[in-house]
């Protein structure tokens, strides 16, 4: 798990994720500033776009993790799905496998952890959330919405705002198919980060021109990346591959 940083005075370590000792600490996260002040207990303060104050009573084994988490929590949890609309449709030949890169929005989780449990202390985002409906009001799903360009190489993005999704698409049908949307069950996204990138990965098996199965996978963009703690399930290790069937069009 992430790089260990301990800061014993009020100084900004700069923009960055990682694991920190619950001590005097100030972090700048874009428009936000979060700080921990040790006064017997630890007082947490988040400033910028409204303030949040909390009191933490840590143990010796307690740490705070600041890392990117799945974009499903703000302004309130209304969905477990992420819909990425492609700025241009991608046409894929029959029985073809391609790899491409999309971007996805991230939220920043401030998580308390010790050897036994993980708890969400705060969540913030530098990206304005938006939700959409995939399918019909009767049988569809509400999804977090994101519009992305399509890239053949990982694009450089502000790691506090956007991540890079490596998507492997297999067209198993005997027809050309046009992909305009990708819907992922994002609750179990495996998010990795380093100083330059936030990344996740997924695969999409196209069954017909209107039907596909997607699933998140567990693969960092490059070696040396740290794995994020998941805010939804607050688990250290996520090994599930949650699947979603896109049955209302691609």
């Amino acid at each position: 798990m992430g790089e260990y940083k301990e800061i014993n005075s009020y100084e900004s370590p700069g923009v960055g994720y990682g694991r920190f000792k619950l001590s005097n600490l100030v972090l700048g996260l874009g428009d936000f500033k979060i700080s921990f002040r040790k006064e017997g207990v630890v007082k947490y303060l988040r400033e910028g776009d409204g303030s949040v104050e909390k009191v933490v009573a840590p143990s010796e084994e307690s740490y705070v993790y600041v890392n990117p988490v799945e974009p499903l929590n703000l302004p309130k949890p209304v969905s477990t799905f992420l819909l990425i609309e492609l700025s241009k449709p991608v046409l894929i030949a029959p029985n073809t496998l391609i790899e491409m890169y999309l971007t996805f929005p991230i939220e920043i989780g401030i998580l308390l952890a010790d050897s036994r449990d993980v708890e969400v202390l705060d969540l913030l985002s530098l990206v304005r959330p938006k939700y959409t409906l995939y399918g019909t009001p009767r049988a569809g799903v509400v999804c977090r919405y994101w519009l992305s360009d399509v890239f053949h190489h990982p694009p450089m993005r502000d790691p506090l705002r956007e991540g890079v999704l490596k998507l492997r698409i297999t067209n198993k049908s005997n027809n050309w198919v046009a992909i305009s949307n990708v819907v992922l069950s994002a609750e179990d996204m495996n998010i990795y980060y380093d100083s330059e990138y936030v990344s996740t990965s997924a695969q999409m098996n196209v069954i017909s021109s209107t039907l596909a199965e997607t699933s998140v996978t567990d693969e960092p963009l490059r070696d040396g990346m740290s794995k994020s703690l998941n805010a939804r399930s607050s688990r250290r290790i996520s090994i599930s591959k949650h699947k979603f069937v896109m049955e209302w069009g691609l």
């Binding site: 302004p75 309130k76 938006k130 939700y131 959409t132 409906l133 995939y134 009001p137 569809g140 509400v142």
Partner: protein
């Protein structure tokens, strides 16, 4: 041993037949338990808990009742005699419990049809509120002002049911009037920007903002949008005021009702010594 078993207790009932009855009933109860347990395991992920309870109880007591009725000759109860004797009593009891049976049957059909579940916001039999519980005879509702209402299932089954939370998204709309002198296209742009910026107004189905009618006092703009069902009311409460203030910030006013009155015969002005003078601009 055989003598004991053949000992007559009363009529044609022997110790052996009573023991056989008891043994078969015991096996039936155990078998019913096993069947309902298996059924519970099979259905627990597929059926809501309240409905599952109804199904399990129906199966459990149904099996026991059928076997009991089949074994009644062993304990000297002649059902044909009972049927004859119970004919009149049955009619009387039938009339007495018809509502209870109607509610029971309706409860079973509601459990199968599932038009609503616990926690849904519904309107049924002139009651609007949250479904608190669905029992075998009645449905318990909590109105939005916190009142407890019990509705017999027969009423629920035969009433129109509007379930406000059955679907995952729902649409709501405002009608916003602006002055005739205001720029309606500008107003539409302002409103579209506000609803685009709200995270819980869904991107798709796409919101609609358009001039719907030319009213007596205002140009009426209809704003239609979709939101997740569990959040639509908070979004609705939040957005209207935001639209109003943003329109006013852009110089667009929501007018008061106004009416221009023309007199066919101009009445004489009587105050301040102007009686009989011609009023400029009266057109006469």
């Amino acid at each position: 041993m055989m003598d004991i078993l053949n000992t007559v207790i009363y009529g044609e009932v022997t110790v052996g037949s009573v023991l056989l009855f008891t043994a078969v009933m015991a096996v039936t109860v155990i078998a019913s338990k096993l069947i309902t347990l298996t059924l519970k395991r099979a259905l627990i992920d597929k059926v809501k808990k309240a409905q599952l309870d109804i199904i399990l109880k129906t199966v459990y007591y149904g099996i026991i009742a059928i076997v009991f009725l089949g074994l009644t000759p062993l304990i000297g109860i002649n059902l044909s005699g009972l049927l004859l004797a119970g004919g009149i009593a049955g009619i009387i009891i039938g009339f007495a419990v018809q509502n209870i049976v109607a509610n029971l049957i309706s409860g079973i059909f509601l459990a199968i049809e599932r038009p609503m579940k616990i926690g849904d916001a519904v309107s049924v039999a002139d009651v609007t509120g949250i479904v608190e519980d669905t029992n075998i005879f009645s449905t318990i509702m909590r109105t939005f002002d916190g009142l407890f209402v019990r509705i017999p299932n027969a009423n629920v089954f035969t009433s129109n049911i509007t379930n406000y939370t059955a679907h995952i998204a729902r649409r709501f709309e405002y009608v916003i009037g602006i002055r005739y002198s205001d720029d309606a296209e500008r107003a539409i742009d302002v409103i579209k920007k506000i609803i685009e910026e709200h995270p819980l107004v869904l991107k798709r189905p796409e919101p609609q903002v358009f001039v719907d009618s030319l009213g007596d006092s205002s140009v009426n703009i209809v704003v239609r949008m979709w939101a997740p069902t569990q959040e639509w009311y908070s979004v609705k409460m939040e957005l209207l005021w935001r639209i109003k203030t943003e329109l006013e910030r852009n110089g667009i006013q929501i007018p008061f009702p106004q009416r221009v009155v023309w007199f066919a015969n101009e009445p004489p002005l009587t105050s301040r010594g102007l009686k009989g003078e011609e009023v400029p601009g009266s057109g006469r």
